[in-house]
């Protein structure tokens, strides 16, 4: 088990390195650069040259990359060109905001989606399972971008929830920080969680239906053990494998999905920071954001692998 987790850890480190390097290479090699965007049309060629020299953008790309790599292994991702601050200062707060959003959505989707999946997987007929199934299919077909636009529209029309942002202006003064944060999280978390809940419901529904049909479950039921106990205690554990195995991918999906949700709901997360960095051609910040994003993905995959190893020890072989 330990060697298995070590192997996954090594893979996670490689993933972070590969993704951040690739994003830096792609951003640097794409046409246009920071000086062009920052100075715009009308700036003299000398001004552009001077700015490139000041930020080291005039050096050969290989030299820039090796320098960056040398520092990156010490967790120094360079200095943001646009903000003129160390990338490592800019990322943690935004990454924490994104993680808060993603983990809340994951938690909500798990506690709602899995039980609903068990319900629809074990009770095939009836109005309630049918309605749940229909809603799930509808939500699955809606991308988070559309869901967040709809929710923002509803929030604007009803006034029930804030339309955007993370905190109200005077929440620190009034001492309502935590409640205010929760209130602001409703729209973005729902936007992320709704399609995810539907996915978990569909997966779990199918998995539990298969397990319930297994001979050992039927035999247990035949021995007179109450159906609810069999399903929730015995069958559920065996049916968790598909959901557990996609948790890592789900974390990745959440991060890419949160990109759009963060823009629509003005959530100050990593996705928005990366978008601004890409627009500005801020190569070091793009690489830093990509490293943070891939670290999330790696952590999610690792967690997923660990969960799978617990649920099904055969997966470590």
């Amino acid at each position: 088990m330990l060697s298995y987790l070590l192997r996954r850890l090594l893979f996670a480190a490689f993933l972070v390195f590969a993704v951040s390097s690739a994003s830096m290479v792609v951003t640097r090699l794409a046409p246009g650069d920071y000086a062009t965007g920052a100075l715009g049309i009308g700036a003299s060629q000398e001004a552009r040259t001077q700015m490139r020299a000041r930020f080291g953008l005039d050096r050969p790309f290989a030299a820039q990359y090796w320098d960056w790599l040398g520092r990156a292994v010490r967790l120094d991702f360079g200095r943001s060109l646009a903000y003129d601050r160390p990338v490592i200062d800019l990322i943690p707060e935004r990454a924490a905001n994104t993680a808060l959003l993603a983990l809340s959505a994951l938690f909500l989707a798990t506690i709602v989606g899995l039980p609903l999946g068990v319900l629809t997987g074990t009770y095939r007929g009836g109005a309630l399972p049918g309605t749940v199934r229909a809603v799930s299919v509808l939500l699955l077909s809606m991308p988070p971008l559309l869901t967040s636009l709809l929710l923002v529209f509803l929030a604007a029309r009803t006034g029930w929830f804030p339309i955007g942002g993370m905190r109200s202006i005077d929440s620190a003064v009034t001492g309502t920080g935590a409640l205010d944060l929760l209130w602001h999280m409703v729209v973005p978390v729902l936007a992320l969680a709704m399609p995810l809940t539907a996915m978990f419901e569909r997966l779990q529904s199918q998995a539990i239906a298969e397990v319930v049909g297994q001979p050992y479950v039927l035999a247990t039921l035949a021995r007179g053990v109450p159906r609810a106990r069999v399903i929730w205690r015995d069958a559920l554990k065996a049916a968790l494998r598909p959901a557990a195995s996609i948790y890592g991918i789900v974390v990745g999906t959440l991060l890419s999905g949160s990109f759009a949700v963060e823009i629509i709901t003005s959530w100050p997360g990593l996705g928005r920071l990366m978008l601004d960095a890409l627009r500005a051609r801020d190569v070091y910040l793009v690489a830093g954001c990509a490293a943070a994003g891939s670290a999330f993905l790696a952590a999610g995959t690792l967690l997923s692998d660990a969960a799978l190893a617990v649920v099904d020890p055969r997966s470590t072989e």
């Binding site: 046409p31 715009g40 009308g42 000041r54 003129d84 003005s266």
Partner: protein, 563 residues
């Protein structure tokens, strides 16, 4: 020795009533504004994004300021100025008893320091280009704590308008960073807000990364309204980062915002009109924008060497034919959903002072366009509806445009369709904005571009980078060492006279001539300028909107909100 005062003959700014000042303007309250991106810095000298401009507009002040609504220059920190007989030297008297937000007195030393910082490109200033005349800096000297002498390198008709580019910075706060060569990083976003000192109507109170910047009233601000009430009226300006324009619109409609940092998109007009009719917002029509769209063909000599199209693609007749072939009114209706105005030159009627209404208005004349094209050898030789050159090759070029800008994407499609009707084939290729700009700034090959860029100042003498052949905004053939054509030489000569002429009427006459030469050769074809609509919540009052961004916040000190 000194001639009459050029600027500042009127009352001093503290006594000058704001354009819309009136009795009974409510005082206090918060104004909530949305911008799409957060500022890159608190220092306008080192970063020029729109949000950093708002920070500068709210927290800093200039010696002279261009009134964005009237386009007149007004003394601000300066009490007035006198100009020497040769027009080269200005003696500027500063207003007494002004202090920075930290209580430090404002003196001529701060002005001299600000110029030194602006011209220090090594230390990270990107303001130098905008503060030079013909590539040469102004010389500034302090005579006494309240007097500075600014010497221009050559006669320059707009004079002190140039100083509108430069907010005055506190020497006592920033001298050390300039000396250390770290000015480029000074007042970055990591700086504690209490460290930022300014002379503007507001003071930076809070910065929450990715969320908002809060500005509180500067109690030491020097201006008062006509009734003697200290400005600004507002307690706070809260600038929220709302990246998505649809979300901005929803928040404005729902009352969560008072205004946005930019104009209304054509597609947002209808919902906002409904909200305005219902009394939830104010929708203001500011008239035509100051910057039209731009279509140009690569006119760099040798750009098409070895290309079979070299015989016709850079000819004046091609651009004239394109101008004739496009139905500008239909263009405005399609691209701007009716909220556009046909234009025929780089200046629009928004530029009240310098726009020439006498310029010929190109009619929509596809037959005339075909005749012009035939004169350069482009005719339909095989009857397939496509024009062919003398080598029987179809007349075709690639039009680059900016991806993600709805108006430009639609506009490029309209141009393609209109030119197809006269037999010219156009392949539209949208590029990401930064890549597109670098394409023509770096001299990489291209055929034609459809884009929108702004001349930053209405006075043509302050847009020499566009009007002179040596200019860096001469998009069709950048930074020419010598004028590439006779007509460009002619424009250079006219502009040389125009920027030194002292009589305004003579300047206007010369610039009208420049516009006529430009229209005759059409290095850039302009089709339409959008109409500018801005929206604000119904509780905002005493607004002085201008067509240029930020339409409201340039005059934030006089904005008020109803309780």
């Amino acid at each position: 020795m000194l001639a009459a005062a050029a600027i500042g003959c009127g009352p001093a700014p503290a006594d000058r009533p704001p354009a819309t000042a009136a009795q009974g303007i409510p005082r206090g309250g918060d104004l909530r504004v949305a911008v799409r991106t957060e500022p890159q810095s608190f220092n306008w000298y080192t970063r020029h994004d729109g949000s950093t401009y708002i920070v500068a507009a709210l927290t800093q002040a200039r010696l002279f300021q261009v009134n964005r609504a009237t386009q007149e220059v007004e003394p601000w920190l300066a009490e007035g100025s006198t100009r020497s007989a040769d027009g080269l030297q200005y003696t500027i008297k500063l207003r007494p008893n002004i202090v920075f937000t930290d209580g430090h007195p404002f003196t001529s030393e701060d002005v001299v320091f600000s110029f030194a910082a602006a011209y220090n490109e090594r230390a990270g200033s990107i303001l130098a280009d905008a503060m030079k005349i013909a590539g040469k800096p102004l010389h500034v000297a302090a005579v006494d704590p309240l007097t500075v002498i600014v010497t221009f390198p050559m006669a320059f008709a707009p004079g002190l308008v140039l100083l509108d580019n430069m907010p005055i910075l506190p020497k006592h706060k920033l001298q050390a960073s300039l000396d250390a060569g770290t000015f480029g990083s000074a007042w970055g976003l990591g700086t504690p807000v209490a460290e930022i000192a300014g002379l503007g109507p507001f003071v930076l109170a809070e910065y929450v990364p990715g969320q908002r910047t809060v500005f509180a009233r500067n109690p030491k601000y020097f201006r008062k309204d006509a009734a003697g009430v200290p400005l600004p009226y507002l307690d706070r300006v809260i600038v929220e980062v709302v990246p998505d324009q649809n979300a901005q619109l929803l928040q404005l409609d729902a009352g969560g915002l008072d205004m946005t940092g930019s104009e209304v998109r054509p597609e947002d007009y209808a919902p906002l009109k409904r909200a305005a009719d219902a009394g939830r917002v104010q929708l203001l029509d500011l008239g035509v924008a100051s910057d039209p769209d731009s279509f140009w063909i690569n006119l760099r000599p040798g750009a098409f060497a070895g290309d079979p199209r070299a015989g016709w693609i850079q000819r004046d007749e091609l651009r004239q034919a394109i101008s004739l072939a496009v139905d500008r009114q239909a263009f405005a209706d399609t691209v701007y959903l009716g909220a556009g105005v046909p234009v025929f030159g780089p200046l629009t009627p928004a530029n009240k002072k310098w726009y020439s209404a006498d310029l010929p208005h190109t009619p929509h004349d596809p037959a005339g366009a075909k005749t012009l094209l035939a004169s350069i050898g482009l005719t339909d030789r095989n009857g397939d509806g496509v024009l062919d050159d003398p080598q029987n090759q179809p007349a075709r070029f690639v039009l680059l445009s900016q991806k993600g800008q709805t108006a430009l994407e639609r506009g490029a499609a309209v141009i393609r369709d209109e030119l197809k009707k006269i037999g010219l084939l156009v392949d539209v290729v949208p590029l990401e904005g930064n890549a597109l700009v670098q394409r023509f700034l770096s001299g990489q090959p291209y055929d034609a571009i459809y884009f929108q860029f702004g001349m930053t100042n209405p006075d043509p003498a302050l847009s020499l980078d566009f009007w002179l052949s040596s200019g860096d905004s001469r998009v069709w053939n950048l930074a020419q060492k010598v004028p590439a054509t006779d007509w460009e030489r002619q424009i250079d000569e006219l502009m040389a006279k125009q920027i030194t002429a002292t009589a305004e009427a003579e300047r206007k006459r010369l610039f009208d001539q420049v516009q006529r030469v430009f229209a005759a050769h059409l290095p850039v074809v302009h089709f339409v300028a959008p109409k500018i609509f801005v929206a604000a919540s119904s509780r905002t009052t005493n607004l002085t909107p201008a067509v240029t961004r930020p339409q409201f916040l340039w005059a934030a000190e006089t904005i008020a909100v109803k309780p």
